[in-house]
Symmetry: C2
Subunit: 232 residues, 2 copies
DNA sequence: TGACTGAATTATGAATTCAAATTAAGCGGT
DNA sequence: ACCGCTTAATTTGAATTCATAATTCAGTCA
């Protein structure tokens, strides 16, 4: 009916919508994805919807059993730990590559970003809506600065989706003063073309962020998620 | 028609066949994947075939443009370098995790594997058909030994497919005596529970394998691939 | 001769329809 | 009352059909 934007195919629309709802947690892990219901909900026929589900299956966001149906993947705490270990390593790699090959002006842009964030956090104490958009995120910028398109896609696409599937807003825990200091030190190492140090600092930074989250999570009961919006 | 094996759905069959043919290079990068032709070739209808293509799209093995059609992805030399950088890091991570958490008996199994490979390469000088199956591959075993299912899937599934898409038999270049020595040293570090050393050695090992390949490749002209079997 | 416009063709997108399998419910037996 | 089996209903898998967009080729005009 209403053509929203660029991609005019129904399948792509369903894919984007489903991906958004799954990653944002609006669908809830393990939910059954009944074709007829979803199709009518998204305003598409079962054909394109099935294609969208298959695509999500390829991205390992949904699992499918032979003639039974499709469900959103379920992720345990162990899975989250595994994802963080991978992310830690890969972001370290991104930092090192950025130190080795990123042009100076792009690094200067990131420096500007950090400066803006600093002044903003000083004037506006909470301002925790800093999670505006990707380009405002330090980790995203480093992934771009690595110059490796595939690494960028892995970090900002697949890994980000899966990690965020477990919980909200985990990419960069905002409002942490220590995080900002870490970011400054990492950028400094990158600008000094010290790849080894940049990798080490980034690894430690992500690792500490994980530990910090884990501590906070275990203290207020684990696996609290939004109530599932539709069917269980 | 002929039900080959476990998964009885046509879409899954088409998916497996297409993945195999693409990864093995039988389809050639950039090939147009006409739906009608492929459907008749695989003995399925267009519906299931489209689902298979979408799934491959999700795994980023095929690209699709709005109403134009699907093509096998094309990978440049730069892409291959990026993939190797990622693989290098991730296999290092796998080695470290294995050193930290893999039970001793499983490591003993890998030791047996290396012993068998050694004796076999001594008696049978060529024996390069060692690339029998996954479980005979050292890197595969280390990925398993990491204990991280997701890391294993990333390394042995996605990355392996993409890297192998560029060229044949690149996972472990067989018949290299130095490789076997590297493997022994890496396993030794893992068994000594020296995670840092295992990671370092594995990184260097993969890096050297890449360099070795690159040297060999550039000397005999680049990007020589099988002639495309069907349509361009 | 070359490039642009137009229609015809081909291929893809999507809905409908039918078939097959799983799930759920109902029935009978122990 | 509980367990197993049979049958009905729901859901998924797949093929056919129609609509729409892109490609191709022919024709015309500059």
């Amino acid at each position: 009916m209403s053509v929203d934007n660029e991609d005019d195919t129904q399948s792509d629309r369903a894919f984007r919508l489903l991906e958004r709802d799954i990653v944002s947690g609006e669908i809830a892990m393990g939910s059954k994805l009944g074709e007829e219901a979803l199709a009518s909900r998204l305003g598409v026929s079962r054909g394109p919807l099935r294609e969208a589900l298959r695509r999500l299956e390829g991205r390992s966001l949904v699992e499918r059993t032979a003639h039974a149906g499709a469900r959103v993947v379920t992720m345990s705490e162990a899975d989250l730990v595994e994802l963080y270990e991978i992310r830690q390593n890969l972001e370290g790699l991104a930092a090192r590559l950025a130190a080795e090959r990123c042009p100076d002006d792009e690094l200067a842009d990131i420096e500007d970003l950090l400066m803006r964030q600093k002044t903003r956090s000083q004037s506006n104490d909470d301002s925790s809506y800093s999670q505006g958009v990707d380009s405002d995120d330090f980790h995203f910028r480093v992934a771009v600065a690595s110059g490796s398109r595939r690494l960028q896609r892995l970090l900002c696409g697949d890994l980000y989706s899966l990690i965020r599937l477990c919980r909200y807003k985990t990419w960069s825990i905002p409002g942490q003063r220590q995080s900002h200091l870490d970011h400054e030190r990492i950028l400094e190492a990158i600008q000094n073309r010290d790849g080894e140090l940049a990798e080490l600092l980034m690894r430690r930074h992500v690792g500490l962020a994980r530990q910090r989250y884990h501590a906070a999570e275990s203290s207020r009961g684990l696996h609290q998620r939004q109530p599932s919006p539709f069917r269980s």
